[in-house]
């Protein structure tokens, strides 16, 4: 089923993107071509095929689960886009 411009605009908004009319026209074309490409999967019988998890059969090595201090805390805060003081500041969330 082809997606129309309203559906694509709604998907873009879920991805936190607002599109101009020209961008939207291109996105509708793109996403419908994309869906046509991945519709190819319907030709395959995927019953009993496990989803791919990880290329390695051994378990991923994990670090010990202990709290540590990142050495460059001040630099991280200095690189932020918004806010001052010892934290990140975000705009109003309540009511959004």
């Amino acid at each position: 089923m082809k997606l129309d411009s309203d559906a694509v605009r709604a998907i873009a908004l879920e991805g936190r993107l607002s599109l101009t009319d020209a961008e939207l026209a291109g996105a509708v074309r793109y996403i419908n071509n994309f869906l046509e490409m991945v519709d190819r999967f319907k030709e395959l019988d995927l019953t009993n095929v496990e989803p791919f998890a990880f290329a390695e059969s051994v378990e991923c090595p994990l670090r010990e689960d202990v709290v540590g201090v990142f050495p460059n805390g001040k630099e991280i805060l200095a690189a932020r886009s918004t806010g001052t003081g010892p934290a990140f500041t975000v705009p109003r969330i309540m009511g959004e």
Binding site: G26, M37, L46, V49, R63, S81, T82
Partner: protein, 490 residues
């Protein structure tokens, strides 16, 4: 011969023996980059002060009798999606603005410990999404062999700087061919290591189950030297499972006798440019002369479904990974007085380019609950079939010889109207990432029918066969010749 023309081993040996200083090497490479950069445009940032100061420190250590390491004074360029503490890192996007990371990627830490010095950060397709380096917010890079053509992508800047002789090696990242394809277009060597061989800590993520960092060099011995430094387990990357396998790079051997090299039966129906078809024939003849046995393997699922499978997975992972670019933590931001959602939307809509937006929308669409099972989950099952198919193929072969691309480097701006057709050209590279395999892109010579463009091919092997691929590359380099520096319009 000028210092910038030397390879990695020659520079490190010369600096350590104090035949020339690290500062002299750095300045000569910098001169070369300045001379070419107006035509090639391969760098987003040139790190003059950082690099010269690192070079000076190498010389000081040598004067005190210390050994600065196996890459003593060797200039390097990093793709601009690798974090460099205090040095702007953009991922080819304007959304990060002038963000300077507060930490180093593990690969850059390892190179510094080995004595390398930073000449700059390379241009790239935005967030590594593209195969031309033309989706960069900083403009396109040109191919040093023909300035009207693309260098490939997404690591096009990293390939161009090695091809044009700015530096003897660089690092790129490969999610679906982004090291092997530009290496092929620019006439140099490029390795996409086994997934898990090289740490991705500090790499700005695109498709986390596919991304892998690897080097570009002008010969296979330099490739082995650099890989010997990068291939090690990193506790900061839980997908890093290398263990002690990096030791496979310590000594190259060119013995090909009894090696079974496979051609893929299912690729025969696809059209190749004449130059690439001729390179295949020439390489097969060289392999047979060296004692290899040519065999055939079949990869029918790869041939029919790999492109769709790859783009479904890559877009889904990209949409998740890029959710973090919101204008709060780093980079470009806007006045947030109207609330959080508006802020996110404004920042992302201005900050991301067209290709990135398209893939975010595709990833959002495919992972919505209503479509997830039909597309994203189906793609992960197809991926299992693809990985199995490769495993079966390697029961009968030590490696696969195949093209990197169906055609030689296209003109800048010559993109397909339909993006999906462009995606199809990635068929030879992206299945390798889906199965987590290593792929080595090597130079075979130049196509002389009026173009003079370099032609590359690739060897693909089972997981952890990276060293074995370089051994075969060593034999092929002896037979076909090593890459040379491009004139880059000078």
């Amino acid at each position: 011969m000028r210092l910038h023309e030397l390879n990695v081993r020659e520079i490190a040996a010369g600096v350590r023996a104090r035949k020339f200083s690290a500062v002299e090497v750095f300045d000569d490479c910098l001169d070369r980059s300045v001379a070419c950069e107006g035509k090639v445009a391969a760098l987003i940032t040139t790190t003059v002060d950082v690099g010269r100061s690192q070079a000076r420190r190498i010389d000081e250590r040598l004067s005190k009798g210390e050994d600065p390491g196996p890459l003593a004074g060797v200039p390097v360029v990093l793709k601009d999606n690798m974090c460099t503490r205090g040095v702007r890192t953009t991922a080819g996007s304007r959304i990060l603005g002038d963000w300077a990371p507060p930490y180093d990627a593990t690969v850059w830490r390892l190179l510094q410990e080995a004595g390398a010095v930073l000449l700059g950060k390379a241009n790239m397709d935005e967030f590594a999404m593209g195969n031309t380096t033309s989706t960069s917010a900083f403009g396109p890079t040109a191919n040093p062999w023909d300035l009207t053509r693309v260098p490939g992508g997404s690591s096009g800047g990293s390939a161009a700087v090695v091809s044009a002789g700015y530096v003897p090696f660089s690092l790129g990242s490969d999610t679906g061919g982004s090291i092997r394809q530009p290496a092929s277009y620019c006439g140099i060597c490029g390795l996409k290591p086994t997934y898990g061989m090289v740490s991705r800590y500090g790499l700005i993520a695109y498709g986390s189950s596919l991304d892998q960092i690897g080097p570009f060099t002008r010969n296979v011995e330099d490739m082995a030297l650099v890989m010997g430094i990068l291939a090690r387990q990193d506790p900061r990357d839980s997908t890093s499972t290398c263990g002690t396998r990096g030791e496979c790079f310590s000594k190259l051997s060119d013995g090909m006798k009894g090696k079974r090299v496979a051609l893929v039966r299912d690729f025969k129906e696809f059209t190749l440019d004449q130059g690439i078809a001729e390179a295949m024939k020439k390489t097969i003849a060289a392999l047979e002369s060296a004692g290899a046995e040519m065999v055939e393997v079949s990869l029918p699922t790869v041939g029919r479904y790999a492109v769709a499978c790859y783009y479904a997975i890559a877009a889904s992972e990209a949409h998740t990974n890029l959710a973090r670019f919101d204008g709060v933590r780093y980079g470009y931001t806007v006045d947030s007085s109207t609330g959080l959602k508006d802020m996110f939307q404004e920042v992302r809509s201005f900050g991301f380019g067209g290709e990135v937006k398209s893939r975010i929308i595709a990833g959002t669409c495919l992972t919505e609950p209503v479509r997830s099972e039909q597309y994203y989950v189906a793609a992960t099952r197809v991926r299992t079939l693809i990985a199995r198919e490769f495993s079966e193929a390697f029961q009968n072969a030590d490696c696969i010889l195949q093209p990197v691309t169906p055609s030689l480097a296209p003109k800048i701006g010559e993109a397909d109207e339909d993006a999906m057709k462009g995606y199809e050209s990635d068929l030879y590279t992206l299945p390798v990432n889906m199965a987590g395999l290593p792929g080595y892109s090597f130079f075979t010579g130049h196509y002389d029918a009026g173009l003079g463009l370099p032609v590359g091919l690739q060897l693909v092997g089972p997981r952890w066969s990276d060293g074995e691929l370089l051994n075969m590359g060593f034999a092929l380099e002896k037979a076909l010749g090593a890459p040379v520096i491009a004139k880059a319009g000078l």
